[in-house]
Amino acid sequence: MKKNSLIILFFLASLLAIFLSCVVGAVHLSLAEIFNSISKTLFSGNELNLHENIFINIRFPRALLSFVVGASLAIGGVLMQGLFRNPLIEPGLIGTSSGAALGASFYFLSSNILAAVFPYWTLPICAFIGSLLATLSTTGINSSNEKSKSSTTQLLLTGIAVNAICMSLVGILSFFARDPQARSITFWGLGSLASANWKIVTTCTLTLVIGCFMAIKNAKSIDALQLGEKEAFLLGIRIKKLRISIIVTNVILIGIATSFVGVISFLGLIIPHILRGLGILQTKQLVLAAALLGGTVLCLSDIVSRIIIAPTEIPIGIITALLGAPIFIYLIRTKNEFLA
């Protein structure tokens, strides 16, 4: 299939997924209710009934948030795999996700004190600070050494070490936490979209747009980098500048999305591979397709997490890994010229 028609297909699929996510759930919503609530909100300003309220304030922002977060994670995967030229990379690997988990754990253990400091969005702010600090430590430790400064492999290894430190600190905190706090830490580490509201959707959409723009701006350089760092340098690419730009983009995309919804694993790893298997290989097209497919997959996963044992919700990270992994195993076993 042509690459452009694939991207159109993903776009249609994403619209369908967002629509499904709006109608499916503990309360079934009809099309008429959806139209009414949109027209009332936008035009007449009449008061919404219960179902219309569910749509406009719960389902719709949640559906959009799942799409936007999935898109951010998948673009992060494309960027980081491209930077490290390594198919095993998850976008949060250099401390971005585990740092967020550490920040969130601090919040759960001392919420009253921290809430006094940041009265608004306390949890996401703590998580984002953690994410930022961990990523900065990775890059800081790496560039403090003359030998490792110019090596992308060393940056990755430093990141894995920082990751391990953060995760063990999360372990210590949950060890000392009381039961409900420890449960909160665990569940946050598995992700949830239940907190979705319009302010979060707006913030994450903004970061997605910025991230997408920066990713596309660097796409050609990332393509050149695939030949090797020396070869990219010889093609006039400024490797250090590119590396910083990609890491900043990644923190904006992954750090902020993770801070709002928790750690959602596996999605950022598999989406780029699936797309390569479909023959989408250039970074620019990968970024666009990853945004659409990643968003669609997370949106569908969210529907599954809500309905599989309704009315209880399963953490979404469980769904992405539990359903995503077998599909991924199936895909990498198929005969395919482009799947590494």
């Binding site: 030229r85 090797g228 006039g236």
Partner: protein, 263 residues
């Protein structure tokens, strides 16, 4: 013209290049030969701008090469390195396009497209364009890299000279493609006003195709000059630990190498 003036380079405690000098002229094919570990790749890296902390000077028309900004430099110099490792599936077409990356910002223009097409046809790889590079054979990969590097070295302004550097370009090729490549390189060098410099291990091919031979051993230039003068020098045989003879047949010189182990 590129003038290499007394360059020396150490990496750690090891002295890799010691007072290397040579003049490289436009429209000439300069071939570096030398035993393993002689510093050949290191010299190419110094000329190409990868190694910059050497002492001495490399001047391109009297300007130190490292004063040329890298984004400008990648438009007047093309360097094919050894052992290019690619991790992700990538189309052959997209690999070759990277050769024109230094010349455009977002989209290649029609001249870039024409240059790429010409390079593709030159190395007869039209049938590979949509293939995944990772699934090609060693020789096919090498020809794809030639098309990429020739697209970068392609000279649209023949009044200005450009530099083409190739590190062991023919080591994965069969004898037919080795000859074919060196013939194409020679013609391309003249047509596009290039200064070509390459490393190869095949002494008789180096003798056949070089405008200038540079013999490197333990970081020193042992001999430089016209192929015939270089191979006639007694230092040639002793450097390579061989015994060679020039054979003239039908008005053409051949470099023959005898198995000196049997003496």
């Amino acid at each position: 013209m590129i003038r290499i003036e007394n360059i020396s380079l150490s990496i750690g405690q090891r002295e890799i290049l010691k007072n290397v000098s040579a003049d490289l002229h436009a429209k000439s094919v300069n071939i570096i030969i030398g035993p393993n570990g002689a510093g050949k790749s290191c010299l190419l890296d110094s000329i190409g701008g990868i190694n910059r902390n050497y002492s001495g000077e490399i001047l391109w028309n009297n300007v130190p090469v490292n004063e040329i900004k890298q984004n400008k430099r990648s438009t007047i110099q093309a360097y094919l390195t050894q052992n290019i490792q690619i991790q992700f599936p990538i189309r052959v077409r997209d690999i070759i396009s990277t050769g024109r990356f230094p010349f455009y910002d977002y989209k290649p223009n029609s001249i870039d497209e024409e240059i790429i097409l010409e390079a593709v046809e030159m190395f007869e790889i039209n049938h590979l364009l949509e293939r995944n590079y990772l699934t090609l054979s060693g020789g096919e990969k090498q020809r794809v890299q030639f098309a990429r590097i020739f697209s970068q070295a392609y000279n649209t302004e023949a009044s200005e000279e450009k530099l083409l550097i190739l590190d062991e370009p023919i080591s994965h090729l069969d004898i037919h493609f080795q000859f074919e490549f060196l013939n194409k390189l020679k013609a391309f060098t003249i047509k596009h006003n290039l200064i070509s410099i390459l490393v190869i291990h095949e002494l008789s091919l180096a003798f056949e195709f070089a405008t200038q031979l540079i013999v490197l051993d333990e970081g020193r230039t042992i001999l430089t000059g016209k192929p015939k003068d270089v191979v006639r020098d007694k230092l040639f045989d002793s450097t390579f630990k061989i015994s060679s003879t020039l054979l003239e047949m039908e008005g053409h010189d051949f470099l023959l190498i005898k198995n000196s182990m049997n003496n």
